[in-house]
């Protein structure tokens, strides 16, 4: 599988800008990094998404055109992974039934998580991946509209930092675990990008 990559920037622990590459697919080396470098740390922290298996996700979703993939690499190491769905539709009244890009899975490498003290190697992984989802939405003609269900640990990030509209817990996602559904309008997307 070939991939195209574009240059983006993250910040290192000292706050300095560092170059990173955003790939428009997930490559075997990204899956290997997840398995051998992320997984042991995630397991040690009992994360809410500790059961996520990116090899399975890749093999299950990659044959389907409705899914697209993004990997973020910096310093030869995978820093973030994302899978989006391009056939879902909006729920906010003002844009109901219009197409959006739905973020199925977004994960930053455990050493980039801000809620784990003294671990942050690169800042901005979640922001860059969300910006990539917005750009994809623009490229698809959806004007930046995106949506996602958030794990509780990320609710504040999507609501306060990204400015997405919080539509509350969604029982249709899972009655046992009704994650909150967040959606971004065209206006919110423009504000986030700028």
């Amino acid at each position: 599988m070939s991939s195209a990559s574009s240059e983006v920037f993250l910040r290192d622990g000292a706050g300095q800008l560092v170059k990173a590459e955003l790939h428009d697919t997930i490559l075997q080396r990204h899956l290997d990094d997840h398995k051998h470098q992320w997984k042991p740390l995630i397991a040690a922290q009992s994360e809410q998404h500790g059961h996520w298996n990116w090899e399975w996700k890749w093999s299950h979703f990659s044959p389907q055109l409705s899914y697209q993939f993004v990997a973020l690499e910096c310093n030869g190491q995978t820093q973030g992974l994302m899978i989006v769905n391009t056939i879902k539709r909006c729920r906010i009244q003002q844009q109901a039934n219009k197409h959006l890009v739905y973020v199925e899975y977004l994960e930053a490498a455990p050493w980039n998580r801000r809620d784990i003290p003294n671990w942050v190697r690169y800042k901005g992984v979640g922001t860059v991946l969300l910006a990539a989802a917005i750009q994809l939405s623009i490229d698809e003609g959806n004007h930046g509209r995106i949506g996602l269900h958030s794990l509780p640990q990320a609710d504040t990030f999507y609501r306060d930092k990204c400015g997405m509209t919080d539509l509350g817990p969604d029982a249709s996602y899972s009655p046992k675990m009704p994650l909150r559904y967040f959606e971004m309008t065209e206006t919110q997307a423009a504000a986030f990008i700028h």
């Binding site: 055109l65 409705s66 391009t86 003609g141």
Partner: protein, 69 residues
């Protein structure tokens, strides 16, 4: 991801529907046709797995199966 170009031949009626859907959804023709292809594949995959494609109207309490060939 690199893209390839093809010519698509449509009847007047098909082109009219395509234009109408593009206007309604705010998409250009390429985006709409790509969306249609994704949806067709997603539906076909689920049907091959033995699933049914259903439409439900909660207000009217109606449920009907869409038979896709």
């Amino acid at each position: 991801m690199s893209k390839r170009t093809m010519t698509l031949n449509l009847t007047e009626r098909e082109m009219q529907v395509l234009d109408e859907l593009c206007a309604k959804k705010g998409l250009n023709k390429t985006a709409l046709m790509r969306q249609a292809l994704r949806l067709y594949q997603a539906v076909d995959t689920r049907l091959e797995q033995g699933d049914k494609l259903m439409f439900e109207n909660e207000e009217k309490k109606e449920k009907s199966e869409l038979v896709v060939l």
